[in-house]
Symmetry: C2
Subunit: 166 residues, 2 copies
């Protein structure tokens, strides 16, 4: 009881200044997080939007456009512009749905998988390094806070996907 009080009131008492620092940390960290992929992408004339599409197609091969739209939270016009270039460049393949022929199912080609691997490897390396330097206890905390910072519906989707991976 006294323990609980200490936990919530003392250990978790955070001043506005501390919260502001955490906000800045999030900003700077996200910059680091995207820096390596951004470099690789710009060499090929792509941007982050391409990375996001490629990432989630790798994550869920055969995903429909509508599905991707919901995950990415952009308009179909915006996504379509990106997908078109990726398809033209032979990185993504769009197959007509086997059951519902209106749907387009998206897959990475070998070239697409290659770029995805390059991007992912760079980003995972940065993430792994940060985890290693921060230590094992920090990693669990990091992930918990991140999940709770998401919008509730997204957190549900994310948690479901996490479970589904097992």
């Amino acid at each position: 009881m006294a323990e609980d009080l200490r936990d919530s009131d003392t250990l978790l008492f955070l001043t506005d200044a501390q919260l502001r620092r955490a906000i800045e940390a999030m900003f700077f960290a996200y910059r680091g997080f995207t820096a390596d992929p951004d470099r690789i992408l710009s060499e090929r004339g792509y941007g982050r939007a391409h990375h996001r599409a490629i990432h989630f197609i790798q994550r869920a091969p055969g995903s429909t456009v509508t599905n991707l739209l919901a995950i990415l939270g952009v308009t179909k016009q915006s996504l379509n512009r990106v997908l078109r270039t990726l398809i033209e460049d032979g990185l993504v393949e769009s197959r007509v749905g086997p059951h519902d022929r209106r749907e387009r199912h998206l897959y990475l080609t070998d070239a697409g998988a290659e770029l995805e691997a390059e991007l992912s490897t760079a980003q995972r390396a940065r993430m792994r390094a940060a985890f290693r330097e921060a230590g094992p206890e920090a990693v669990a905390g990091f992930r918990q806070v991140l999940e709770h910072m998401m919008d509730p519906e997204l957190r549900r989707l994310f948690a479901a996907a996490r479970e589904g991976d097992r």
Copy 2:
């Protein structure tokens, strides 16, 4: 010794799939992180770029343009476009440097401070809620990982600023 080994090799062994999930968590969390300010800003016809400028002027009142440029990592043309609208709208004041009259020192006006408070309050509320739900141990870990995800020079600057706040 055996403890150390277990920590680094067992507890910190992360599969690529786990790292990929952490990457996605970072992406979704950042969206949540910016969602509330984005709403407030769009009501006023501003964007994230304005938020960043306002935030760091609040953080370091009297900061010069060059200084802000270094922190934000954008070109002066890009920053200037944002600063101009903020100055025109009476949210930011630009004073000629007292020692070096080439410099412009930036300050929030009362109206600027008001918007900053609104943005910061919303963002801190989300951060505080995430921290509360994740628990006290998670918070320290979260911050450690974030710091190690930054680019090294930025981490130095950030750490220095953190110390300077005390």
